[in-house]
């Protein structure tokens, strides 16, 4: 095996996700420390058109167009092709994002290549000739450091492990055609159903404004959405309000929802129960607005405003807009 490091990218609406740009940046910085090559692999319909945005972050891009595989579940299409490329070109490390498709790809790649996987990477740095992977475990109560005992290996990286940053020189783009060495069983997409306008992705967001029971009902989320809009952020929620049907599951943060690490987390009417805390407590700055001064969230927020969120959130939105204007 060589010493190159690869990142597997994915697209949303034709453009690389923020997580993919972070992975490309991480691959470049690790490759610099290793003295090796970094490559981003993009397997998607229209890959070549989206490749320049990835190349600007430094690594070379292998673009594999899969227009012919539209109508099939994505992960199996991607992993079979990345596995073939990896077998041909022999990278030492492959970074995958901890998104739904990214984790599916990581598991399938592991099976196809028979490589091990380090999961749940919150940060990765190069140390003593190997990647050192930080993992936040037990809901953020502990940070462990792990390293692979041998190469090659797959490393799954969470959003926010590194800030996406363009490189002084863009990497080269190579469009390649790949016949998968071994196809995985195909899963057909019978129908794509849109139920709502796509809400801003909480995994991709730098700022999240989240609502809990204190929001009172589905109509109360208008205040949360407005504050998120003012701050340029996404809307998050607790499990209780998702279960109550006030907002969709895609916005749920916590143990059975998503784990997020935004720069700013504004918790409105959220008590901060352990099941929610595990999904957000590594956020950069946590601001809580809550009536209850004894709520658990007081113990891990940076700023707590005791008061009525319906009085405070609209004023905060107005103040933020006034500042930006």
């Amino acid at each position: 095996m060589g010493s190159a490091i690869w990142a597997v990218a994915e697209l949303a609406d034709g453009a690389p996700t923020r997580l993919s740009l972070e992975l490309a940046t991480l691959a470049r910085t690790l490759a610099e420390a290793m003295g090796a090559e970094a490559t981003t692999v993009l397997v998607a319909p229209g890959a070549a058109a989206a490749a320049p945005a990835l190349a600007q972050h430094g690594p070379g891009v292998l673009a594999v167009d899969t227009a012919a595989s539209e109508g099939l579940a994505v992960a199996a299409v991607v992993s079979a092709r990345v596995a073939t490329l990896a077998a041909e070109r022999g990278p030492a490390w492959i970074l995958c994002g901890a998104s739904p498709d990214g984790k599916d790809v990581a598991g399938q790649l592991a099976a196809l290549l028979d490589w091990p996987v380090l999961v749940n990477g919150a940060a990765v740095r190069w140390q003593d000739g190997a990647p050192l992977v930080e993992m936040s475990i037990f809901g953020g109560r502990l940070v462990t450091e792990s390293r692979p005992t041998a190469s090659p290996a797959i490393i799954v990286v969470r959003p926010g492990a590194i800030a996406a940053e363009e490189a002084p020189e863009p990497g080269p783009i190579e469009a390649v055609e790949v016949a998968p060495g071994r196809e995985l069983p195909a899963v057909r997409i019978v129908e794509r159903v849109a139920e709502a306008a796509a809400a801003a992705s909480i995994e991709e967001a730098r700022i999240i404004v989240a609502g809990g029971r204190g929001v009172g009902g589905p109509e109360g989320f208008a205040v949360i959405e407005d504050l998120a809009d003012a701050l340029g952020g996404a809307v998050g929620a607790t499990r209780a309000v998702v279960d109550a049907g006030w907002i969709s599951y895609s916005q749920q943060i916590g143990q059975t929802g998503k784990i997020v690490k935004p720069a700013l987390y504004v918790a409105c009417g959220i008590s901060g129960a352990i099941q929610h805390k595990v999904g957000m407590q590594t956020s950069g700055t946590i601001v809580a607005i809550n009536r209850d001064p004894d709520a658990p969230i007081v113990e891990f927020a940076d700023l707590v405003v005791i008061g009525d969120l319906f009085e405070i959130a609209p004023r905060l939105a107005a103040a933020v807009r006034a500042r930006k204007a």
């Binding site: 992960a75 992993s79 739904p100 599916d104 990581a106 598991g107 399938q108 592991a110 099976a111 996987v117 380090l118 999961v119 749940n120 050192l132 992977v133 936040s136 037990f138 809901g139 109560r141 502990l142 940070v143 462990t144 450091e145 792990s146 390293r147 692979p148 005992t149 041998a150 290996a153 799954v156 995985l184 069983p185 057909r188 019978v190 129908e191 794509r192 159903v193 849109a194 139920e195 809400a199 992705s201 701050l231 599951y249 895609s250 059975t256 720069a263 099941q275 700055t285 601001v287 001064p293 007081v298 891990f300 927020a301 940076d302 700023l303 405003v305 008061g307 905060l316 933020v320 500042r323």
Partner: protein, 259 residues
Amino acid sequence: MRIVVLLKAVPIVGTERLLDAFRVDRGSGLEANGNDEYVLEAALQLTEQHGGEVTLLTMGPAGALEALRKGLAMGAARAVHVQDDAVAGSDARGTVRVLAAALGRLEYDLVFAGADSSDGLGGVVPAWLAARLGLPYLSYAARIEPGPGGATVRVRRISPTGFDLLEAPMPALVMGTQLLGEPRYPSLRGIMQARTKEIATWSLADCGLQPAGVGLAAAASEVVGATAPPPRGGATIVRDQPDAAVTQIVDLLASRRLV
């Protein structure tokens, strides 16, 4: 419809701790992983509506028994517990090897697994296992139902705007989420019936595996350190009137370049 539900017994959320050599304490206080209970509920409903039986499969220490008993009390027909000192400390690859071998000794139309476990947060085992077994893999399910004709399975997979309706022939492996619906509580009758249900305990040898390739010694990574992150909190508490409180929030955000 014969469904095998993969159930992981995890340390009770909030009580997890590491032992010496950075190993997770699995000796006490285990519960069924939250996401696994959602797929178990879906499996029970499917077999109630379309016939068939649910088998639970877990790999874990003696303490996993309680989670299996609860699953049996909810309505699963039987359970298989792969319990062997040699599997302790297995990483995802070791886990996949053991589960694949155990599934090779069971008959099924569908295998169900929950999304991420609360202890590892990896979420890669279901995809890995499906690819290893050559099963179609349908993930992030919000609903699971038989396809037209009955030889296929259909899954609503969560998408950013709604869902993708996926279909694949059985046998297949389905990974599911909380959207499958709240798991039932075991009834008293269910608890009584569970006492007579079979829990088979299989060793590695029963699965046809050698200890090499599983367990801590075969893990592909080593934990070299664990630290508690700097404590959060010491929060500034603001009890001012709304306008003054908002000024304090904006000042904080401005000082941290967040607005």
